[in-house]
């Protein structure tokens, strides 16, 4: 399979889906996480339970929901409850293994901004805000992130800390999580259109795999800090025909996520 056979966005979604292998309960964020999680459910993690903040546990979407409150996540689900119950019993109650988020800005320690670019009082532009992301970041056992990588999104300093990651580093983060009784252990994976990052023992993200066709030069040109790179960096396996077919024919035939 050649690079021309798939787009960088398709590679990003496929790589993100694969990271979910072995996970049991996944809280699905709006946007890119939605398609990545639904791809995983159809491939590598068929028994994974999908939780939507709209109030759904055990969703079995028959189509890819455009929004995370679509009727297809309700019909055939295991349980549908009020949002207060969803947030208090499932999320704050500690039942979520992976919270899957998108981000507008991220720093090297996995702190996420989805609120504003610029000053909070005079934003340029104003972004959506937290939704459930700040709670997911604090209480899901692990946080996975999927986002496109650029000088604007991978930044030295985020403009607003919507969802805490490893704060100023692992040591500080672990102390604050312990003192505050957080259930989550913070971010563990960031999948971008260039590669796959995991967090090392210092709490900083480290590039472990480059997608086919992407180079370290691309990565350095798409971030605001000198990235940590694994000693033996891997190459992400290209999407399989099945994965591409599922994305193109079932999950995103209109190309809303992949164009």
């Amino acid at each position: 399979m050649t690079d021309a056979a798939f787009s960088r966005n398709e590679m990003m979604i496929v790589a993100a889906a694969r990271e979910l292998a072995g996970q049991r309960v996944c809280f699905v964020g709006v946007g890119l996480p939605n398609i990545a999680v639904n791809l995983a459910k159809r491939t590598i993690a068929p028994d994974m339970e999908l939780v939507y903040e709209a109030g759904v546990f055990g969703a079995r979407p028959a189509r890819l929901p455009l929004s995370i409150g679509d009727p297809t996540i309700v019909t055939g689900a295991t349980s549908v409850v009020s949002m207060y119950e969803l947030f208090s019993l499932y999320l704050q109650g500690g039942l979520i293994d992976v919270g899957f988020l998108g981000a507008a800005q991220i720093d090297r320690f996995g702190n996420i901004n989805t609120t504003v670019i610029g000053d909070y009082g005079a934003p340029a532009p104003r972004l959506p805000g937290s939704g459930g992301a700040c709670e997911i970041a604090i209480t899901a056992r692990q946080v996975f992130v999927i986002m496109r990588q650029s000088k604007r999104s991978f930044v030295e300093r985020i403009d607003f800390r919507t969802s805490p990651g490893n704060l100023g580093g692992a040591e500080q983060a672990e102390r604050i999580r312990r003192e505050g009784g957080w259930l989550g252990r913070g971010p563990s994976v960031v999948v971008t259109d260039l590669g796959i990052w995991h967090f090392d023992e210092t709490g900083e993200m480290r590039l472990d795999s480059l997608h086919p066709g992407a180079t370290l030069g691309d990565v350095r040109a798409s971030g605001g800090w000198e990235p940590k790179v694994a000693p033996e960096i891997g190459t992400t396996a290209a999407p399989t025909d099945l994965e591409l077919r599922l994305i193109r024919e079932e999950l995103d035939p209109g190309g809303a996520y992949t164009r």
């Binding site: 207060y84 704050q92 005079a122 934003p123 104003r126 919507t162 805490p164």
Partner: protein, 318 residues
């Protein structure tokens, strides 16, 4: 009981009587059951200085803000999910502080009060339960408590650390769309429940808009399905398809095409104002809106098939 004694009203009369200038208004419903019909009527009646509360302002508050009904927005996620932004609101948030009163032809600036989703549902829950605050494990490190001083720390009285608190949200009026209610306003919903129950119990006045008015025996046959009792309902408005382009589980699908097509409109203030003229101001109510949409558009939104819940037996006990 004479008809004049009942709560069943037209949308026009319900909004005239129960939505007032300066009110805090919550039109709730998470993706599901958003009462666009009520929002449009509020625009048509020219309400002003409203504080609009909603977890996700969605297109309806984008339209209401652009129409000038609002002074302030209380929310937790601002966007067109999976599509893009809400320009009508964003331009008024990004506006320079000098534009606070809309002088000099500038867009009037919108005040914002921002929470997370859990914070918003906890606020309604506190309001519904008449509590001075609700505790939650959130906000520990994010910047939101700095941006919104109404989010406060609270120490556990058991010496096991601090959590955060949010204050009650008690709308003057809450408007919810539902599958069905009886004439007294006993309301049943299935599918996503969002925070409508809490928002209704927290409110001073409640308007329920339904796809179908049913006999009370239908409600009483399944009392576990009731989310709002008539006791707290002031008006019942029958407005089929009143949630379009949002959806009603089992009745019609979300009109995703409408949400996708909103993106170029909302990015352009002139296009947005033109849309408001064409689809709200120049129409006299929901019937005209549905006629303009056309029966084919609506028919295409019907579910692809039935998915019946099955019935359970409560048993007679005499």
């Amino acid at each position: 009981m004479p008809v004049s004694d009942t709560k069943v009203a037209s949308m026009r009369d319900a909004v005239t009587e129960f939505v007032r200038d300066g009110d805090t208004v919550a039109i709730e419903g998470f993706t599901h059951l958003i009462s666009f019909a009520a929002g449009h009527e509020i625009i048509r009646q020219g309400r002003r200085d409203l504080t609009l509360a909603r977890m996700t302002p969605d297109l309806i508050y984008d339209q209401m803000v652009a129409a000038g009904v609002a002074r302030k927005l209380v929310f937790s996620w601002l966007g067109n999910p999976g599509v893009g932004g809400l320009g009508g609101i964003r331009r008024r948030i990004e506006a320079a502080p000098s534009a606070v009163d809309g002088a000099d032809g500038l867009l009037p600036r919108l005040e914002v009060e921002e929470y997370s989703h859990f914070g918003m549902v906890a606020r309604y829950t506190a309001g519904a339960a008449n509590l001075p605050f609700m505790p939650l494990r959130s906000y520990f490190e994010p910047d939101l408590p700095a941006a919104n001083p109404r989010i406060r720390e609270i120490e556990s009285p058991y010496g096991d650390g601090k959590v955060y608190a949010v204050p009650p949200l008690k709308p003057d009026v809450t408007i919810v769309h539902a599958q069905r209610a009886d004439r007294d306003g006993n309301t049943q919903v299935w599918g996503l429940l969002g925070c409508q129950k809490e928002a209704a119990f927290a409110a001073d006045r409640v308007i329920v808009v339904v796809e179908e008015l049913v006999d009370e025996t239908v409600v009483r046959a399944d009392p576990n399905r009731t989310i709002i009792p008539g006791l707290i309902v002031d008006a019942v408005v029958v407005e089929p398809f009143g949630a379009h382009p949002s959806y009603v589980q089992g009745a019609y699908d979300r009109d995703n095409r409408f949400y996708l097509e909103w993106e170029p409109i909302t990015k352009d203030e002139d296009a947005l104002q033109a849309w408001l003229r064409e689809w709200v101001f120049e129409l006299d109510g929901r019937a005209a809106y549905l006629e303009k949409l056309g029966p084919e558009r609506l028919a295409a939104l019907r579910p692809s098939g039935p998915a019946p819940s099955g019935a359970v037996d409560y048993g007679a006990y005499r």
